[in-house]
Amino acid sequence: MRRIGYILLYICLALVAVFQIFPIIWLFMFSLKTNQEIFAGNPFAVPLDPKWGNYLKVFEGGIGVYFWNSIWITALATVLTILIASMATFAITRMKWKYSGLVLGVIMVGLMIPIHSALIPLYNMFLNVNLIDNPLSIVITYITYNLPITVMILLGFYTTIPREIEEAAIIDGSSIHRLFFRIILPISAPIMSTTVIINMIYNWNEFVFVNTFISSEKYKTLTVGIQNFIGQYMTDWGAIGATLVISVLPIIVAFLFFSNKIMEGITASAVKG
């Protein structure tokens, strides 16, 4: 009886796993098929004669530009977010001043608000300073909107740093900048790596801001770029599949290597809210 119960539970878990993973496997498979194979054959058929030409077609179509934009915008925004968030978290948790709680509260405003409520004024602001259709608008928006979550993840670690470390550094005649850059930042490396991963995923996948602020092809990132691509291929499923695979592959590869960090970051970013 107990055995049957366990088997049933396993079947439940396995069904959920199939539901979660199968659409992705199906995507990989049809990215290597021709339309005839997709439309005539059954969806579970493995492409025995993989059509890598689909990928070639997509690269020749110019997806490389979007890919490169995604990489540099993600990287730049992530680095700056973490630097600015670390500085603010340091001042809030380690320095002694009256308004630290208030400042933290202001930073946390960004956690729950719907970005759509700020979208029109943001657009108007960027228009007035000529930053519409300029990747700078995307970078500074990403930095700003990821600051709250980054500060929140860093906060827990910063409050646990022993006072003795700071005291020793200050008594040795170290300046605060030296203390921050040479001691605090290095010892916060583990938690920083968690925030790096979270920021990278958010920035890589962001859609609304790019879709609203950027109109030139040469500045678009993958999320918006693949929209164009798919529009242009219309009914060529293989090419559409290849486009999607190219856009999700970096994240899936990152997950294979850093799954524990990613899961830690996602848990931290949710539960403390």
Binding site: L13, V16, Q20, P23, W26, H116, L119, S259
Partner: protein, 292 residues
């Protein structure tokens, strides 16, 4: 020591970049949104102050109410599906072999961009060649529905990829919380003769209630501001059948160039989200915090 650590200039220097960005790009736009909502404005020409007209229009706009209703339906679905995620997490956390691998598999969709998810599910739902209808036809079902083109089912059809996207996220959170429960409590219950089901429902679930409450807020507020996937999959259509608050606002502003009215809807979205957050927090407030 204290003098060094309370240096006003340093504090200013370290918090200024974060505060400036948040003030200029989050706080001020939120306030401006309410202000722009008082204007008749196409985004390019001059603004004309029209008082509360946009807000009054919104209250009489059936499209706005429909999209609000859809957003709340989505929120209701999302909150209800949390129970399913909790059940999966409870099974997963009960010393199942391969739990760690399964947890990772569940999480993969969460890592993909909403655009990729939307495009993938457009293909899954494709009436003639999609994965779903291929399977249904294979099972002998004739004329399976055109999922995304049918106004009466499109909202439910969209909800499936949303579950798909977030299931792993909530399962992960519940699993982490369940793993934090001290083993001694479970052992004690076992010695007292509690069945696994009793342990799950009467010990584990109450102990992670705080986490569950946080996820209720997350899922409801997240649903109310949900946008990407719907915008890409259906653009709110057919004929507004899957329009939600954020997509309606976006359409008004960036397709119809009705920036004044769009701002008013955006501001209402903010107000609704805040009110709902406060109400859920009140309802789920801790009367007696469980400690262990």
């Amino acid at each position: 020591m204290n003098k060094v650590m309370s240096n006003k200039w340093i504090i200013f220097l370290y918090t200024f970049p974060a505060l400036l960005l948040i003030a200029v790009l989050i706080v001020i736009p939120l306030i401006l949104s309410g202000y722009f909502g008082l204007m008749d404005w196409d985004g390019i020409g001059t603004m004309e102050f029209i008082g509360l007209d946009n807000y009054i229009t919104a209250l009489q706009d059936s499209k706005f109410w429909d999209s609000t209703l859809h957003s709340f339906l989505l929120a209701l679905f999302s909150a209800c599906s949390l129970i399913g995620y909790l059940a999966v997490a409870l099974i997963l956390a009960s010393k199942i072999k391969g739990a760690s691998l399964l947890r990772k598999i569940y999480l993969i969709p969460m890592l993909l961009s909403s655009v990729a998810i939307a495009q993938l599910w457009i293909k899954v739902y494709n009436p003639s060649n999609g994965m779903l209808n291929s399977i249904l036809v294979g099972l002998g079902i004739e004329n399976p529905p055109a999922w995304l083109a049918d106004p009466s089912i499109v909202l439910y059809a969209i909800f499936v990829p949303i579950i798909w996207q977030y299931a792993g996220f909530y399962i992960l959170i519940y699993y982490a919380a369940l793993k934090n429960i001290p083993e001694s409590l479970i052992e004690a219950a076992k010695i007292d003769g509690a069945t696994p089901l009793q342990i799950a429902l009467e010990i584990k679930v109450p102990l992670i209630m705080n986490v569950f409450k946080v996820t209720i807020v997350l899922s409801i507020v997240g649903s109310l501001k949900y946008f990407d996937l719907i915008y890409v999959m259906t653009g709110g259509g057919p004929n507004g059948a899957s329009e939600v608050m954020a997509s309606y606002m976006y359409k008004l502003a960036f397709s119809s160039y009705n920036f004044g009215y769009g701002s008013a809807i955006g501001f209402l979205l903010l107000i609704i989200t805040l009110i709902v957050t406060v109400i859920i927090r009140k309802i789920t407030a801790n009367k007696d915090e469980i400690q262990y």
